[in-house]
Amino acid sequence: MEKLRVALVDEKTERSSDLEAALVAEGYEVVARLAGSADLLAQLHGLAPDVVIVDMQSPDRDVLEDMQRIYREEPRPIVMFVDESDSESIRAAVSAGVSAYVVDGLKSRSVQPIIEAAIARFRAFQALRSELEAARSSLEERKLVERAKGVLMKRRGLGEQEAYDLLRKTAMNRGCKLADVARQLIHAAELL
């Protein structure tokens, strides 16, 4: 299997060199250690890493966020490392499921599962994203989703947004397409 390519964005060079050693020992390829700079985006774009790891205390977080917008066609998972004091609550947000970020301190042993979790979550998020795009462009699927929303609103007394969120969440939990969940729901509703 090809080595995963990781880029580090951290102004604290001592820490990032420790992390680089830990990552290399875990079998990753560290393509660059960057401090924040004006051409950070261009550098990252050129390096095309599989994962970007950034210090949560870095102002470059906003720059990286913008990268996801500029290079929409090739977004990267971003893993954030935060102070121990913040990690618990941020982890709670991450486990809520929407974010592509995973956080922890810099203990080398915990690095690998974090990165793998970040990539997995990111891919799930991306898949959901592209599926939502596809669903939008497909009128047929869109109608299904609209009808399923209607079923939920009527039967469970939900608002439109709540109904949509429930469908989305169910699709994500089951790892299947939004339209499939909608179709199943409509069939089930016809039987009841």
Binding site: A38, M56, S58, D62
Partner: protein, 414 residues
Amino acid sequence: MSAHDRPELRLGFTPLTDCAPLVIAHELGFFAREGLRVELSPEPSWSNVRDKLAAGALDAAHALAPLPLALTLGVGPLQEPTITALSLGLGGNGICVSLALRRALDGVDAAGAASPAGAGRALAKLVALRRSRGAAPLRFGTVFPVSMHTYALCHWLEVSGVDPLRDVELRVVPPPRMAGELEQGELDGFCVGEPWSSVAVRRGIGVILLTGNDVWSHAPEKVLAVPLAWAERNPAVHRALLRALLLAGRWCDDYGNRPELARRLARWIDAPEEALLPALLDALHPSLHAFHRFAASFPWRSHAAWMLAQMIARGQLEKPIDVRRASAAVYRSDLYREAAREVGLSCPLADEKLEGAHASAWQLPSDGAPIHMPPDRFLDGSVFDPADVVRYLSARPFCAARFPLDELAAAQRS
């Protein structure tokens, strides 16, 4: 519960002049007098502020005015219902360009470049000229995709005849690095909160072409963002926080206090006191920072609606929403009134107003004496009616909405 037992509140802030009410409430005891124990947590990025609010790592934060809307609607990677019941102030931004860009603007239209109203006209000529020569698009810095900086910059470009998403390149740059990137030629201009335009001017590498007030006079800027779940669990603490910040904002607004304010702020912001003074003492624009006057602390739902219209026009919102309903859910003027009355401040009677409709000073009806209000014009003289967002957007020269406007019209039920 006595102050002693009460848990410490964590308040996030970003080092900018307009975090003043938080710093003053902390240093001069406005929090303590409300029985609050507060820890101010400096945040290096708006992404951090957003993530920590969503995660509950901050109880409340000094935040970009559109941030609670974006977080509630899921514009960006996270979604968490978030509200604001307090504006932390109006205005404070500047659009600053490099000396080279200023010279180039003078070259195409010297009269235009010299005035805030004409600078955009000069820019449009320059953009057209550069395109005909095959030159790279000009690059402008802003602080976050979802910010008044982005929206003011885009509004200025748009009304000048420049498509903000195609004719120029917009880049997010951390405010303390704006001046440096202007100097290195990485940016041709930027829109940023004070003191960072003044820092560029003081270093002799940039010129303030126009202020945020020239684009939209006394525009919303920062708010106190609070997760809805926290506000619902802690209504009394939230009200105490609002009372402390309302009184601190009134203190900051007093020009007699502004030199002391600059001195105190300089310790929290990595910028010299002298760089803070021009904006605070009106050397850049009259009343560039309003913390209390002009109903500056009131969370106008019409401000929220304008920002939602910008999110739609810039393609940030993925699907149609009921703009007025979203504005009312996030901009909680009802909670503002509860707190303001407890400290004897009079409150506007309405939750919305026509934005941009006043060419001269006017009187705002309140539950006490009328509130003196300034002119509130947009650069292009447009008027924004929060009840008719669709018509407003139909009239914009460049609208990059990701859905047809009739779908938006169908979603307006309030």
